[in-house]
Structures are given as C-alpha cells and as structure tokens.
C-alpha cells in the first residue's frame, strides 16, 4: 500500500517558483487498478515519479508499507512513457536485467524472463534488438521487464500514449488480463478518459495549475468492459464533465 500525505511539489524555473502539485492526499489500496487522470502538464508524471522515488516532494510524505519513500527500489516498478529499453541488449537480456542485478544465474534468469515474454506474446522475438521492434512491442517488453522483477506495485506513466489506437486498445485488454492474473497493484497515469474508464477500479481526477485532486471516481463496470456500451459512455461523459468544470 502506498500513502501520500499532504504532498506538495514546486519547481524552480528561471527564478520563479512553479506550484505543480498542491496538497495531494491519496491511498493506493493493495490489488487495485488506480488511474490518475488529468490534462497534459497537470503534474501526473511528477506525481508518479515521486511515488517511485525518482523525485522528492517539496513537502509532505510518501509511504510504502511502513517505509518512507526516499529512492527508487525494485518494489515499485516503473514503466516510462518514452521507450526505455537498453538498445545494446536483446529482448530477453532486457527483460532479465533486474534478475541479473541480483546475481541470479543465466539459466534461471532466461527461464523466468521467457515466461513473462510469453505472457506479453513476444517469445518469438526474444533474440531481437529493441530497434527491430515496433512501439507497441517495446512497451510490452518494458512491462515484462518490470513484472519479472516482482514489484509490489506497478507505476505506469502513459505507456501507450505514443501508440496507434488499435495497438493501444489491444494492449489495454492485455494489461487488464495481466493485472487479473498477477494480482498486482497498478497505478496508471493517463490523459485519456477512455483509457482510464476502460482500465480503472478507481479514477483520481487531477485539475491543472496547480494540480490537485478534484474527484475520486470508483468505476464499477463489469470486466471485460465494452467501450460502446451505454454504461461505459455514461461514465465517460460524467468524467469529461468533471474535467471541464
């Protein structure tokens, strides 16, 4: 479980102090699929980076379990918005990276990595290099690389935003399946209402400048969700309303 208590974040930019996030209070419950939704530039990435330990709050506290988050650790996996595979390693070595850090021997490493590559449907590409993969495949590998490392929580920063609509929707379906099988906690950042409603158990809606939580919306729709159903469209409408107020 991750708890954010009165988290503020400011950046100093050309002598001016920019208030990015204002008094964020949030509990991420174990096993939930939480989406953080907000317009571009509202501080979603900043918020997620602080949860990972890649950035520090200006004030306030972020706690995982009973420990204050001070630096990145493997218990909080992160999938970045930009492509982040190591270009000098092939797919299976990319996925094995975290295991190698812990000194797990090659055979064991590859066995586990292949298991997760299979899960994301990329086993046939295990010997390919990142530059030979499409954007969607790169993000799948990044997800596998994260999962094989057995984090308690998966932090995902708009991982599908650079992909075309078909690929994005396909990966959303796959991600929900993975979440159901692995029983992971996921915090997923997005600016797409459609994506958030499709994925989330709960949506935290952020406003822009300064970023603060304007609403906590539980999504009760049955899975697998149908994007064209009336219920789905109704929920979407409500949330778009919230964002526009």
């Amino acid at each position: 479980m991750i708890t954010l208590k009165n988290v503020f974040k400011t950046f100093d930019h050309n002598g001016k102090t920019l208030e990015i996030l204002n008094d964020i209070n949030l509990k991420v419950i174990d096993g939930e699929f939480l989406c953080i939704l907000g317009p571009s530039g509202c501080g979603k990435t900043t918020l997620l980076r602080m949860m990972a330990g890649l950035d520090m709050p200006t004030s306030g506290e972020i706690i995982e379990g009973d420990k204050v988050v001070r630096k990145p650790t493997r218990s909080r996996g992160f999938v970045f918005q930009q492509y982040s595979l190591f270009p000098w390693l092939n797919v299976v070595d990319n996925v094995s990276f975290g295991l190698e850090l812990r000194g797990i021997d090659r055979e064991e490493r590859y066995r586990k990595s292949r298991e997760y590559l299979k899960m994301v449907g990329l086993l046939p590409f295990q010997h390919s290099y990142p530059q030979e993969l499409s954007g969607g495949m790169k993000q799948r590998v990044a997800i596998a690389r994260c999962l094989v490392n057995k984090p308690n929580i998966l932090l995902m920063d708009e991982p599908f935003s650079a992909l075309d609509v078909q690929t994005r929707e396909k990966l959303q379906v796959e991600l929900v399946k993975i979440w159901e099988n692995e029983k992971k906690t996921i915090v997923f950042v997005t600016h797409s209402v459609d994506e958030a409603v499709f994925l989330a158990d709960r949506i935290v809606v952020l406003s822009k400048s300064p970023g603060l939580i304007i609403e906590n919306v539980p999504i009760k729709l049955k899975r697998v969700r149908d994007r064209n159903s009336y219920e789905f469209l109704d929920v979407k409408k409500d949330i778009i309303q919230l964002l526009n107020d």
Partner: protein, 222 residues
C-alpha cells in the same frame, strides 16, 4: 569493385601529374621532389631489407603501449567526470590547462625526466591521446538518455551497478570514437617524438635518411 576503381582515380591522377613534373619534364629538380619511380624503388628497397618493417613494428608497439596507458587512465576518469559533477568540478581546471599543450612540446621534459627511449615515447603518446579519449568518454556519459539510468534504479540497481551495466555500454560508442582519435594522434606523436629523441622507429629513419638527402644536396652544390 566499381567503388574501388572510383576511389583509385584521384591517386593515379596525382601520381601521373607528379611523374610529368619530375621524370618527364624535369620541371621540379630531383633534390626538391624525387620522382615516383625513385620513391617506389626506395620504398621496396626498405621493405626488402627489413628496415621499414622493423621501424614500423617499433613505432606501432610504442603506440600500442601508450594507448593502453591512456585508455586505462582516461576511460575510468572520463566515466567518473561525466557521471559526477563533483569529480568533474575537481578536475576540470587541470584538464583545461593541460589539454591545449601540444604533446610535442613535452618532448624536452620527457627526455629530461625519462631519457631517450621507450618510456619517453610512451609518455608523449599518452599525453597526446589521453585527452581525446577523456573528452569523448565524458561526452558519451553525459549524453546518455536519463530514462535508461532511471530504469536501472527502478529495477533495483545500485549506483555502481548502474555505471557498470548502463553507463558504460551506453557510452561505449563515444569511447571508441575517442580511442580512434587517440590512435591517430598517438601515431603522429610517436613519429614526431622519434624524429627528435629516439634511435629507432619510423620517425628515426625519416631523420636518418634526411641526413643522407642533405649530404646528397650538399654534394651537388659543392
């Protein structure tokens, strides 16, 4: 094949003009610029009697050892300087002062401190090649996409592991560029150093045969 022929056009043309100016017209006297056939003849003679081969080997050995020392110093130092602003701040000024000094300018000191011979040459090659390797390594480390180091941290890497498994491979192309430049400069330095303070190598035979040439010219004028 076509490309090979294409790239041979210009050299052949130059030799042709060279031959016209020397052998065929005598426009440029022999003692200023020897004719192509004479140059090739001497070249084969030097190869045949082994002098050139031996000198080349000697020179290359020196460059090799000089580069090893350079790489051993410049690569770790460059990685640290590129990675840590503190280390860079500490060393920046010294590097900035030493770097513009032409390596050849160190030759008198090298001879004074280390005498004439291998150590001296290696010292000069080191001074010539260490900075290109250092600067390229620093540059390579600084240009790493920060997302790659952050990925490593979120996968549980320590700082040391991040340097070893991300920073080093990511900076490798720049390091190799630095080494390539280092080889070139190292070779220039050696030949120059041998021309002044050595009794072997390519630079040495250049100077040696220069003396012969001078004698020949003197004979012609006397």
């Amino acid at each position: 094949m076509k490309k090979t022929i294409y790239s041979l056009v210009l050299p052949i043309l130059i030799i042709f003009v060279w031959a016209i100016l020397t052998t065929f017209t005598g426009y440029i006297p022999e003692y200023i610029l020897p004719s192509p056939n004479e140059v090739f003849q001497s070249f084969f003679e030097l190869i045949y009697n082994g002098i050139l081969l031996e000198a080349t080997l000697y020179t290359l050995t020196q460059v090799f050892f000089g580069l090893i020392v350079s790489a051993a110093v410049a690569i770790p130092l460059g990685i640290l300087m590129g990675w840590s602003a503190k280390v860079e701040g500490l060393l920046k000024l010294i590097v900035g002062i030493l770097r513009p000094i032409p390596p050849i300018a160190w030759i008198p000191f090298a001879i004074l401190w280390l005498g004439i011979g291998l150590t001296s040459s290696i010292f000069i090659i080191f001074l010539g090649s260490v900075f290109p390797i250092l600067i390229n390594t620093i540059d390579g480390v600084k240009r790493i996409d920060p997302v790659l180091t952050e990925v490593a941290y979120t996968l549980g890497a320590t700082e040391f592991q991040t340097i070893r498994k991300v920073v080093m491979p990511a900076a490798l192309p720049s390091i190799i560029t630095g080494l390539k430049i280092g080889v070139g400069i190292g070779l220039m330095c050696t030949v120059a150093a041998e021309m002044i303070g050595s009794n072997n190598g390519l630079g040495y035979i250049i100077v040696k045969y220069e003396t012969f040439l001078t004698n020949e010219v003197n004979n012609q004028y006397s």
